[in-house]
Symmetry: C2
Subunit: 236 residues, 2 copies
Amino acid sequence: MNEKLISTLREKYEITFTESMLLEQAFTHSSYVNEHRNLKQSDYERLEFLGDATLELLISEFLFNWYPDFPEGKLTKIRATIVREESLAKFAQECEFDQYIRLGKGEENSNGRKRPALLCDLFEAFLGALLLDQGLEAVRKFLAIVVFPKIEAGVFLHEMDYKTNLQEILQKNGDVMISYELVKEEGPAHEREFYVAVKLNNEVIGQGKGKSKKSAEQEAAHQAILNLSAQESTQK
Amino acid sequence: MNEKLISTLREKYEITFTESMLLEQAFTHSSYVNEHRNLKQSDYERLEFLGDATLELLISEFLFNWYPDFPEGKLTKIRATIVREESLAKFAQECEFDQYIRLGKGEENSNGRKRPALLCDLFEAFLGALLLDQGLEAVRKFLAIVVFPKIEAGVFLHEMDYKTNLQEILQKNGDVMISYELVKEEGPAHEREFYVAVKLNNEVIGQGKGKSKKSAEQEAAHQAILNLSAQESTQK
């Protein structure tokens, strides 16, 4: 097992695995297993299954207590913002987990080590391994270092507001004109649906629908952010 | 609080709540709260948020251990079969929880007490309340009576196979001819999509699409089961 990973875990998070095989498995991608069949090593996918559910419960519990007055709908939205791929990939990188993944050659060459989907799975797999090795309380302690302080700082609450977020992204390069336009509404009164387009200097950059104008605008802003980041990564 | 619920929980599941307010909240629907604003009672929605995640983790953990050789994909499918609305509503009814929900009049008159979506939420809310009152181990013990034995008996593994399931449903009333027909396939080779129709005595009763003929057939069988059960409930 990688000595640097072991000492990082011990020093930064006070974690020492009892079963080092579990830790090894958490950092082993299926492409590595396929190339090293003689090692009889398991990949991290089953651990990821377990870690995903562990994360979901611990985040839910924390949000439930941290926001005693939030209704269920709002809690569900924040939770989704925290457990989504983007966020988990960031956590994995902050923990420098990307350095320690064991990848097959093809995956390595296609830059798999930096792929958000892979980093997200890796983060969950690590939580699954930690649960099996040391129980739920140990995972809670780890998240109390890596994730909970961000919730307390309001990071995800902020990300949820896509309109604000979009404005900040676009204004980085100076003043811009962002407008939201109701394109159409349809359906009976109690199930009305609103369609909104968001425009940047009169050009449509995202569209969304929702049960209220407000939620359709949020959805349109979210789409615009996704479109922009897709463009960005194509240009790189 | 309802005395019969309290004694049922004690006798059937050896559960006695410390905070009876939590138990009360778990059985209180928002429609009841709206009609009794003077009571300052909370509805079960926040508890449901917590219970949903608790269930997900405990089921995941059990499946992980029970099926040590199943790959992640198969575990995820079985988990989805267990935590879906239909299954949870059934658990709630088996526990006779439907008797104890506090509903508003409108909801009561429109037969809300039997609505699967409501029963499913209620079941999750109960788990959330139990977690808060007595911790994760108590919820695990409860599921070990209500859910885990069904997993051990292979109930959900079986439900996953929709083709077998459809055949059994249709054959209840004697011999039938069920056939699967490839309607079309489209898309490039690496993203091909297959469209399949399932026929009962040459009449189409369900359709499905998928990335393989096999998965499209499963999807068609699933649709047929849903169509049949929708017909059945209309006829009642």
